[in-house]
């Protein structure tokens, strides 16, 4: 009861805060920079375009989506190779941990937003399949000495695997990334229960109350309006559905933070240039990580969107955080 009151109060405060900001921007005809980077001054059109951050640059909001699209268009082909190179393969562990926390059961519907090359969706299908096999084995063990009657009823119920089938929908705004994902699926021979949809996280092309689980892995920091993406997530989830987000976050340990920063800024753009032939996209990547809110602030944003029981876990000392919330 107290938690929901707190949520309500926060939401009211946030809305009023937003109204004040909009009024100020409209009144002066010039917009300020968001994210509190006090050292920047920017001139915008007289129409009062709001501006936002693109890495450490400041760009009009309308620009950001286009530039992010271009970044991922350029890196799509080498995306997986670069992930392995930059994180030394650790990104696979992070994604596996997401799946373990999710613990999906057969019959569950997943929406993976900004799913691009399909890493989460593939892992989801694999996990669910192994869960299904586990269940079958358990069922087989429990019927140790079946009578002929039991055996005949078992044969007839095996056809009922249909409704148990899980579906994963991979949604991404970028067609190149989806293309790469589809190619991967084809080469792996995975096609059942998998769909590829072009869509914007701020405006999902799905009805309300459709999915049991919504995931967004390393994608939400590229969205221009994170709060809109969170609201869309709430909308498309079924009641009782779970929101899960893997994202780079703030490292708490100062020594690790220094090492991480040095590695990020010195090594990663170089890797981008050598492996993918694209320095600037990976410079954007490391800068965008710094601009993303920290664990607590993001938790607050998720709560403001209307999720309950919001928690986060730090992975690798805070390099990555796994946030989770429920729609009740």
């Amino acid at each position: 009861m107290a938690a929901s009151m707190r949520l309500l109060v926060r939401r009211v405060l946030r809305l009023s805060h937003r109204n004040i900001n909009v009024a100020a921007a409209g009144g002066s005809g010039r917009s300020g920079c968001c994210s509190g980077s006090s050292s920047c001054r920017c001139f915008s059109d007289a129409t009062g375009d709001r501006s936002t951050h693109f890495g450490f640059e400041t760009v009009p909001e309308t620009e950001k989506a286009k530039r992010v699209y271009k970044v991922f268009e350029n890196v799509a082909q080498k995306y997986d190779v670069m992930n392995d190179a930059m994180s030394l393969g650790i990104h696979r562990v992070w994604k596996d941990m997401l799946l373990h926390a999710m613990h999906p059961q057969p019959g569950v519907r997943l929406l993976d937003v900004a799913g691009g090359t399909g890493d989460i969706a593939f892992r989801f299908l694999e996990y669910v399949q192994s869960q299904q096999e586990r269940q079958k084995r358990r069922a087989a063990r429990s019927t140790q000495t079946p009578s002929w009657q039991d055996i005949s009823t078992n044969y007839s119920t095996e056809d009922k695997d249909g409704p148990q089938e899980s579906k994963a929908v991979v949604c991404d705004i970028n067609k190149e990334m989806l293309k790469v994902g589809k190619q991967k699926a084809d080469s792996m021979g995975v096609s059942a229960g998998l769909s590829w949809v072009v869509g914007d996280a701020e405006e999902l092309p799905f009805d309300d109350d459709q999915f049991d689980i919504y995931t967004i892995a390393f994608g939400i920091r590229n969205v221009t309006h994170i709060d809109q993406a969170l609201q869309e997530a709430l909308r498309v989830l079924k009641p009782g559905g779970r929101f899960m987000c893997l994202e780079f976050s703030k490292v708490t340990n100062p020594v690790l933070a220094r090492l991480y920063d040095t590695y990020s800024f010195q090594m990663i753009p170089v890797l981008g240039e050598v492996i993918a032939g694209d320095w600037k996209s990976y410079q954007y990547l490391v800068e965008s990580i710094r601009k993303f809110p920290d664990q607590e602030e993001f938790k607050g944003m998720i709560e403001d969107a209307g999720f309950y029981c919001v928690h986060y876990h730090n992975l690798t000392g805070g390099v990555v955080a796994l946030h989770s919330g429920f729609k009740l």
């Binding site: 050292s39 920047c40 001054r41 920017c42 400041t58 760009v59 009009p60 890797l271």
Partner: protein
Amino acid sequence: MVVLSGGRFTVCVHQLHSSPGFTDSCYDGLYPGHIQTTPIQKALLAVGSGVAALQNPYRHDMVAVLGETTGHLALINLRDRMKNDPEGYTILTERPRIRLSTLDLSRMASLPDGSFGREYLRFLEDNHVTPDSRADVKFVDNEELAYVMQRYREVHDLLHTLLGMPTNMLGEVAVKWFEAAQTGLPMCALGAVLGPLRLNSSRLQSLFTSLGPWALQNGRRSRCILSIFYERRWEQNLEDLRQELNIEPPPVILSAANKRST
């Protein structure tokens, strides 16, 4: 108009009909395409690009990055040589660029055979290359040196014409030996040393007995090839130009017919 954003210095050139987005004519750094790098990053780039170029020699962008990150001293030397030469000095001030858009191809095609322009065009056609395929300079932290590097890249094809070398492996290695002797760029030296590893024995023999020594000698004694305003010499006879630059004609006539075979 200069915009300060997030602590980075960005130069923006506004056109008459400026658009709200500051994208196309904006650049960070000292020249369009310049990317600021720390010494550590340059070192990492040099190693990484070297490895990448060795693994896949068709990655011309990696060869370019290797050249940029290792060539600082050689570029200074080249720039000073250009400054001391009157024609080279003109090039440094006027900054000509060799691109399809700046070349008058129809006029060059109408030039007599044996003229530099006609032979250059013939070279481009026979070897199916275009002057527009050169990567832009990114990691040189001095605007003038960046131009010298760019000029070196763009002059490479003209050098093929001057030396009479096609773009197959043997021809490229011969040109690299010449360039290594001329410019002292570490990337050329590396290419000169590693290039022969991909040649078969008969070509290796040809390289070591006649082509190689010729390329090295001429590289050393020739006038600085970056100091020549090629764009104003299309009508000049090729042999005359060679004599002026102190380059002997090639000892072996190589044909472009066997392109892409070692």
